[in-house]
Symmetry: C2
Subunit: 394 residues, 2 copies
């Protein structure tokens, strides 16, 4: 298109760009870099003309374990703004099965070695990293460097340093980064966030958040192997409880104390089994959480000045349920993963709010590290110093 029209177009798109992209873009403008170079640097939604805009983004799932198999791939059959375009797997036998089941062309199938050539594949717009935790950082960074938007499963990475690496890589590449925090797209959770935002029950005073299941399967599964998982219940289910505490108060914690309990050390020989933790918030709210791989619990409860609200279950794939001091909650049930991936795709395509940014994943990992530190120091209180809305999504 002619340069003048192109400049008008990118001005329209400018407001939807990631802050860092805007910064880079401004720098490039200041340096007098030409339109072609500019276009190459713009995120997908900017680089495509409106009339050329894709209706659906192509997603490639990296890692074809049970979450991809039984949640994400089926959900991607029903998504409006994205679809299952490709796969990346380390297990050759899965290639044909998935290709047949989901009609995936051979050119959209990658393994871990040739993954980086995905940069040349226009059919793939988003890479969804669904690997064991130890591989999140590597593949999120490689996806960003290939110019693909990134969805990273929870927990974001093995530690805060890896979270920074992912965020930096996405910023540098000018691609979008979202966390696989499906609950932010889930109607019961969105209602909780509305209660908090609108103070439906007044200020929140206390949150109880439990997220736990009883693991009795193969003791060699990757979640129980510290080298692959980075930690046990806290890294896996604990992140849900941390999330509950934060979206049920609308605040980041200012301190945390934590305790660890071990009752089946022969089974949980490498990772944490049961952890309790307490948060203080600047408003004065307090949260008490429990996470475990040894017991079943799945609930958030918030006591407010003028009432209370509760979700139980609060973070399962199966339909959530909830009630408040004013009565039952009742929302239509849809695949949470479908809603989540559509929300991310819609953000990329249309600039709708990003519900779970990478900074949210990093914030939660900072809290995970503080919990482990408190435990290591005999329950000593760890102060935290987040910007008030650091990590909050749109």
């Amino acid at each position: 298109m002619p340069l003048t029209i192109f400049v008008t177009f990118i001005r329209q798109q400018y407001v939807h760009m990631e802050k860092n992209s805007r910064r880079t873009f401004n720098t490039m403008l200041a340096k007098g870099i030409g339109a072609t170079a500019l276009a190459a640097h713009l995120p997908l939604s900017c680089a495509m003309g409106n009339n050329q805009k894709k209706k659906k983004l192509g997603i490639a799932l990296v890692g074809l374990g049970s979450y991809s198999t039984y949640q994400l791939a089926p959900a991607l059959q029903d998504t409006r703004h994205c679809y299952l375009a490709g796969i990346v797997t380390g297990t050759a036998a899965k290639e044909k099965i998935w290709a047949n089941r989901y009609n995936i062309p051979q050119e959209n199938i990658y393994n871990y070695e040739n993954f980086d050539t995905i940069a040349d594949n226009d059919a793939i717009d988003v890479v969804y990293v669904v690997l064991p935790n130890s591989m999140h950082a590597e593949f999120s960074v490689r996806a960003a460097e290939a110019g693909k938007h990134v969805i990273c499963e929870k927990p974001m990475a093995m530690n805060v340093a890896e979270c920074d690496a992912i965020i930096d890589a996405c910023n540098k590449a000018g691609v979008k980064l979202g966390m696989g925090y499906r609950l932010h797209s889930e109607p019961y959770t969105q209602e909780v966030k509305r209660f908090v935002r609108e103070k439906t029950f007044g200020d929140v005073l206390y949150v109880s958040a439990d997220a736990a299941y009883r693991s009795t399967g193969n003791p060699n599964q990757w979640r129980l192997n510290r080298k692959l998982s980075g930690g046990g219940a806290l890294m896996n289910m604990g992140v849900y409880a941390i999330q509950s505490a934060i979206y049920s108060t609308g605040e980041n914690p200012v301190s945390v104390t934590a305790q660890e309990f071990s009752t089946r050390p022969a089974y949980f020989k490498d990772t944490d089994e049961t952890i309790t933790a307490q948060f203080e918030f600047a408003s004065g709210a307090v949260a008490n959480m429990m996470t475990s791989h040894n017991v079943r619990a799945n609930r958030l409860y918030a006591s407010c000045v003028n009432g209370w609200f509760e979700l139980d279950p609060a973070s399962t794939y199966i339909p959530l349920a909830g009630r408040t001091s004013r009565g039952e909650l009742d929302f239509p049930q849809e695949s949470q993963q479908k809603l989540q991936m559509d929300d991310f795709a819609s953000h990329v395509l249309y600039g709708t709010p990003k519900l779970a940014p990478g900074e949210m994943g990093k914030r939660d990992m900072i809290i995970v590290e503080a919990i482990y530190k408190s435990i290591a120091e005999g329950g000593k209180k760890q102060q935290m110093n987040f910007e008030p809305k650091y990590g909050f999504g749109g």
Copy 2:
């Protein structure tokens, strides 16, 4: 009655006597003390012949605050094994009101000064101490010394030493001592105890126990005055959470860690506001509790190997409600206080099991002190060394 018949009678009654009474009784027998002296020493149920046995025990309420006024006195209109026979009050104006409302004869009305003359009043069999915590020990001991059976409201006293004084006084006087723990007579709670006893859902692995309400009334109320209460939320509501943790596991804890939170120090200037605590049990079970005078929460939840059970509310006067992994619980609703006082009276009259012995109150106070100590030591784990069934009732 002739001595031979009397001796036969007291042999029949012997099995129902308190252990200490039996010991004293044996000593008296060994010393050749006569039947009249023996009879004088026997507890009420023994000292009366079967055909003379009272149908209903006379209860005197000591302290006519809101709990006596709105819970105990109304309940005593419906009790089968006891009735409201007398009152003890420090407020002269209440004497006539209560006398008229409940048809209490003048000779059954006492104040704190002449209380000890209750020893001469055969119409009063049981003294129920419903005073501020700071007065529990004094009046429980004076009641025992007056030869009356004692029901002591929760928390048992200001500290463990006072609990010992009450227990010793009752043992010495050969009178029965029970705690005002109404929930042990309440059907949902009894069902929970049955689940634990019969392992209905397998071994209990985890208990979440919250007992809290939001106090916004007169900041000078006795519960917020340490000299009268001995402590804040933990002494008041915390005892319910401790109780929940114990009857939901069927065990006494072997360790405790605890944390304190203060968000309205101007209001809670003298007593603890919000406390979280974690218990370990010998079986490996873990409990996580919260108590507060600043927030509303009232629930027990237990995760077991083969399912779960939950009461919510778990300790209110209003009807409890419950559900399990197998469905809803549904029990008929009756006054908890009525059931409680009838159970105690039935224990005195007929030797039915004592559901909440004084040792239970003492055990809970040992745990309260351990929680305060853990808080004072920055959350340090406190080991506890109870006999496995110390404090458990029948």
